[in-house]
C-alpha cells in the first residue's frame, strides 16, 4: 500500500521569512504538502546570512538556521517589485490553497498582493499574516524579531538570576511558540474550508500567542498585584530544584524533587548520607527554607560523577533528573534516535547533514523532513513550468522581464 500523508495534494505559497512563517509551512511540507518558498535574491531571508554555517564558512546556501526551517520545500526567487515578478506571484496565489506571509503589517497590500487581491485571484484562499504585533493597532508596524516580542511579553524579566540583569530565554522565544498555534489554526481552517468551501484571512500576532504561556501569572497580577520575576532554577513549591555541577568541563545535571517519595529516593540514591537525615529536610517547607544548605551537600555528591551517572543513579530511584544536554548530546541521545528525530539528508552544498524532524509521531508513516532545504532559486524552472504550468515561451518572457531575481 502506498503511504498516505495527511496533506498530500495541498498547495502552499510560502512568502514568509525568518522563523515563524517558515516553521509553520514546514509542518505542512513535512506532512505531505507541496510548499513553494518564495524569496528575493537581492534580499534573501536574513537567516541565510546568519550562522551556524556549514564548517563555519558563510554563504547563502550554507546556513542551517535557514536550512532546518525550510526542509521539504521548493525554492523560488522572485522580484516582487518588478511587474513580471508580481505577475508570477499572482499565479502562485491562484495555484495555492494556503498563502502565508510574515512581513511588517501592510507590506503585502502595498506590493499589491494583500488579502483583498488574493481573494480576487483565488476566492477560497486561506491566507495567514503573522507579524510581531498583529495587522491592527498603533504598534502594528513594530518590526523586529522574537527577541523583541519576547521582551515585551515578559520572558526576559523571568529568565536568569534575581541579582543579575536578565539573561532572557535562548534566542527569539516567540518564534518557538507561534508556529505551533498557527499550524494548528491553518489545519483547522483547512478542515473548515473542506466542509464549507470558504477560505479566510488569519491575523496572528506573535506577541499575543507568546502571552498564552503566561496567562496564570498575568491574571494573578491583575487579581493580587503579585509580580513574577527571574529566580534562577528555584521553584516556590519544590526543593531541591536546580542544575548541579558534574565531572568534566561545564557539565550539569538538573534535579527537581517534587514529592516526599522522590526526596526519599534521592537519599537512597546517595547512599543515605547523614546530612540528608536532618529532620528539617523531610517536608518540602523545610527543604525550601534550607535550599542553600541542601545545594551545598548535593553539589559535593554530584561533582565527582558524570552527568549521565547522576541521572541514571537518580532515575533508578524515581527521582526527576536530566542531563543538561547540548546540541552534541542531542545528536547522540538514544531516546531521540529511537524517535528518529534527526533525518540525515544530502544537501548539494552542505553534504549529509541532520534535519530536525517532528515532536509528535503519528503511527503508520514517517513525518519527514522529506528533502533538504532549497538552494536560493533552486526550483525556479520546476515551479514555473511544472507547478504553475507556464510554457517555455511564457517562462522566458517572464525571465527577460526581470521576474526572477
Amino acid at each position: 500500500m502506498t503511504e498516505q500523508l495527511p496533506f498530500d495534494g495541498l498547495k502552499v505559497a510560502d512568502f514568509s521569512w525568518v522563523g515563524v512563517g517558515p516553521i509553520t509551512a514546514k509542518y505542512l511540507a513535512d506532512h505531505g504538502a507541496t510548499v513553494v518558498r518564495v524569496e528575493t535574491e537581492g534580499r534573501p531571508d536574513i537567516l541565510r546570512i546568519a550562522g551556524p554555517f556549514k564548517d563555519g564558512v558563510p554563504g547563502p546556501n550554507r546556513s542551517h538556521f535557514y536550512g532546518d526551517f525550510n526542509a521539504s520545500k521548493y525554492g523560488l526567487t522572485l522580484d516582487l517589485k518588478n511587474q513580471a515578478g508580481l505577475d508570477v506571484a499572482c499565479r502562485l496565489i491562484e495555484w495555492a490553497d494556503v498563502y502565508i506571509e510574515s512581513f511588517t503589517a501592510g507590506t503585502m497590500s502595498a506590493l499589491g498582493i494583500g488579502y483583498e487581491r488574493a481573494r480576487e485571484l483565488n476566492p477560497d484562499i486561506l491566507m495567514v499574516s503573522t507579524c510581531l504585533m498583529g495587522q491592527t493597532g498603533s504598534a502594528r508596524s513594530f518590526a523586529g524579531y522574537g527577541f523583541h516580542a519576547g521582551a515585551i511579553a515578559g520572558y526576559y524579566e523571568i529568565t536568569g538570576w534575581p541579582d543579575l540583569p536578565p539573561d532572557g530565554p535562548w534566542t527569539a522565544y516567540t518564534d518557538t511558540v507561534s508556529p505551533r498555534f498557527i499550524a494548528a489554526l491553518v489545519m483547522a481552517a483547512l478542515d473548515h474550508r473542506r466542509r464549507t468551501g470558504r477560505g479566510q484571512h488569519i491575523d496572528a500576532a506573535q506577541m499575543e500567542m507568546g502571552l498564552q504561556f503566561l496567562a496564570p501569572q498575568i491574571i494573578d497580577y491583575n487579581a493580587s498585584g503579585r509580580l513574577v520575576s527571574r529566580n534562577g532554577n528555584r521553584s516556590d513549591t519544590a526543593a531541591p530544584h536546580g542544575a548541579y555541577p558534574c565531572a568534566g568541563d561545564d557539565q550539569w545535571c538538573a534535579i527537581a524533587v517534587d514529592t516526599e517519595q522522590q526526596w526519599d529516593g534521592l537519599r537512597r540514591a546517595m547512599g543515605d548520607p547523614a546530612w540528608a537525615g536532618d529532620d528539617r529536610f523531610q517536608a518540602v517547607a523545610g527543604r525550601l527554607a534550607h535550599h542553600g544548605k541542601i545545594d551545598e551537600h548535593l553539589k559535593q555528591w554530584t561533582s565527582d560523577k558524570t552527568a549521565q551517572e547522576v541521572m541514571q543513579l537518580l532515575q533508578a530511584h524515581g527521582v526527576p533528573s536530566g542531563v543538561v544536554q547540548r546540541s552534541s548530546d542531542l545528536l547522540q541521545d538514544p531516546q531521540l534516535a529511537h524517535r528518529n528525530l534527526y533525518h540525515y539528508l544530502d544537501h548539494p552544498e552542505m553534504g549529509n547533514i541532520p534535519y530536525t524532524g517532528h515532536q509528535f509521531r503519528i503511527q503508520g508513516y514517517d513525518s519527514g523532513p522529506r528533502s533538504p532545504a532549497p538552494l536560493l532559486g533552486q526550483h525556479n524552472e520546476f515551479v514555473l513550468k511544472e507547478l504553475l504550468g507556464m510554457t517555455d515561451e511564457d517562462m522566458i518572457e517572464a525571465v527577460i522581464a526581470g521576474a526572477i531575481a
Partner: protein
C-alpha cells in the same frame, strides 16, 4: 471552525492547553476529571493564596471553552461511561504515563474498537516507548534534556530554565498540531489515528538554530547570558536604561535611524551618519566583511544613550519613528502596553471569587470563523448532570456510580 467535533480531555497541566486550543477553535470539549479533580487544580498561583480546587489560576487559565465532568476510571461504571463517550467523540487527549491508559483498559487499541475514526493523542515526557520513556520528569529536567537550558543563563552560573514553567505548555500547543495533522489523515483514510507527543522533542525545537548546530559548525553553542549568538558571532542585545532594561539588536536596520538619535545627544560625532552604509551593515557584519564602526563601538554608544531614558520613553519614541526598541517588561508594564488594548486582546474573565479581571485573550483573529469564549473553566463536576444525564441518559444513581460520588 471545529464546531462539528467533540473532544474528550483527560489531561492534567501537561495537556489542558491542547484541548483548550481545540475548544477556542470551536470544538465541543468535555473535560473529564478524576473525582478529586485534575492535578492542575492543585497548581499555583491561587486566588487569595488559597490552595483550593476552584482557586487555581493555572486550572482557570487553560480550561476555558470546556464543559467539565468527573469520572472514576478506577471502577467499572466510570470506565463504561467513558467508553460510551468515546463512541461520540472525535478526539481523545490524555497525558498519563506510557501504558497507564492501557492498564485501565482505555488504551488506543481498546478505544479504536469503540470508535474506528478516533484521533487519540498521548502526551508524555519522552514518548510512548524508547530507553527514556520510563524516566521521571518535570519542567526543569525536560528543559535540561531537550537542550534549551544549555543555552540559557549567565556563563559564570549554572544553566537556567525560564522561571515560569513552559515545557508542558510548549508540548501542549505542539500536541494540538499533532491532533489536527492526524485528523487530516483520518479524513483521508477513515481510520483511527494514534499521536505520540514527546515533551523532550518539543523542547529541542525551542533551540531553533541550536538544535543541530554541532553537526553543522563542529562545535556547540554555550550559554552566554543575553548575547545573541549566531555561529561564532555574539551580539549584546540587553541594555540597561534609566528604570530597567531594553532589548535592541543594533547591528540591523535599527542603526539606520538610531544613529541620528546618537548624534542628536552628542554620543557619537556627526560623521557617523555618512561614515557607514548602515542599511548593509548587518549583512557585512554577519559575514565577517569590513565595517567602519566595529560592533564594540556601536554597542558602547548604545549603552551610553539608552541609560538616560526610561523603558517607556524609548518604546514610545521608537514606535513613532520606527526604531525597534523593546522594553524588558514586567507584567505591570505589559498590562499598560496600549497595543493589546487597542486590539481588544484582553478578555474580562469572571474569576471564581466573583471578581472580573482582564485575562489574556484568544490567540488569533479570523475573518470567517472568529474565535470566542463560550464558557470559562468549569467547577469540579459542573456538567455531570447535563452531560451524563442529559446526553447519555444516565439516571442519578448511575451518575453517582460513574463519578464515584458517595451516593453510589
Amino acid at each position: 471552525m471545529l464546531s462539528p467535533y467533540t473532544v474528550l480531555d483527560l489531561t492534567d497541566h501537561r495537556g489542558e492547553l491542547t484541548a483548550m486550543m481545540l475548544g477556542d477553535m470551536g470544538a465541543d470539549v468535555i473535560k473529564v476529571e478524576p473525582p478529586d479533580g485534575s492535578p492542575s487544580r492543585r497548581l499555583a498561583p491561587f486566588l487569595e493564596d488559597a490552595p483550593k480546587p476552584e482557586q487555581s489560576l493555572n486550572f482557570f487559565s487553560y480550561n476555558r471553552n470546556k464543559r467539565g465532568i468527573t469520572l472514576d476510571l478506577h471502577a467499572e461504571p466510570g470506565r463504561r461511561t467513558l467508553l460510551t463517550l468515546v463512541g461520540k467523540a472525535d478526539f481523545f487527549i490524555e497525558s498519563a504515563e506510557p501504558g497507564e491508559m492501557a492498564s485501565l483498559g482505555l488504551g488506543f487499541d481498546e478505544l479504536r474498537k469503540r470508535n474506528p475514526r478516533l484521533v487519540y493523542v498521548a502526551i508524555t515526557a519522552y514518548g510512548q516507548d524508547g530507553p527514556y520513556s520510563g524516566f521521571a520528569a518535570n519542567d526543569l529536567t525536560l528543559a535540561a534534556m531537550g537542550g534549551p537550558m544549555s543555552l540559557q543563563g549567565h556563563p559564570n552560573r549554572p544553566p537556567v530554565r525560564i522561571t515560569v514553567p513552559q515545557v508542558w505548555l510548549q508540548t501542549s500547543a505542539e500536541a494540538a498540531v499533532g491532533a489536527m495533522t492526524a485528523h487530516a489523515l483520518m479524513v483521508r483514510t477513515g481510520e483511527a489515528q494514534f499521536v505520540d507527543v514527546s515533551a523532550q522533542t518539543a523542547m529541542v525545537w525551542t533551540m531553533l538554530h541550536g538544535m543541530a548546530a554541532h553537526a553543522i559548525q563542529g562545535f556547540d553553542i554555550n550559554r552566554g547570558g543575553s548575547d545573541l549568538q549566531l555561529g561564532a558571532t555574539k551580539v549584546p542585545v540587553v541594555f540597561e536604561c534609566a528604570d530597567g532594561y531594553v532589548v535592541m539588536i543594533n547591528v540591523g536596520s535599527t542603526m539606520v535611524k538610531f544613529v541620528h538619535w546618537l548624534v542628536e545627544d552628542g554620543i557619537v560625532p556627526e560623521e557617523w551618519i555618512e561614515g557607514e552604509d548602515w542599511p548593509t551593515y548587518e549583512r557585512r557584519f554577519l559575514q565577517d566583511m569590513p565595517v567602519t564602526y566595529p560592533l564594540e563601538e556601536t554597542v558602547e554608544a548604545t549603552r551610553r544613550y539608552v541609560r538616560n531614558y526610561t523603558k517607556r520613553e524609548l518604546l514610545e519614541r521608537g514606535l513613532r519613528e520606527d526604531i525597534t526598541i523593546a522594553p524588558v517588561s514586567t507584567t505591570e508594564d505589559l498590562t499598560r502596553f496600549r497595543q493589546l488594548e487597542e486590539r481588544g486582546f484582553w478578555l474580562q474573565a469572571p474569576l471564581p471569587d466573583g471578581r472580573e479581571m482582564p485575562a489574556p485573550g484568544l490567540f488569533a483573529r479570523l475573518t470567517e470563523t472568529p474565535m470566542g469564549v463560550r464558557c470559562w473553566a468549569p467547577s469540579l463536576g459542573q456538567h455531570n448532570g447535563e452531560i451524563l444525564g442529559g446526553i447519555l441518559g444516565l439516571s442519578s444513581g448511575e451518575i453517582a456510580e460513574a463519578t464515584g460520588s458517595e451516593r453510589a
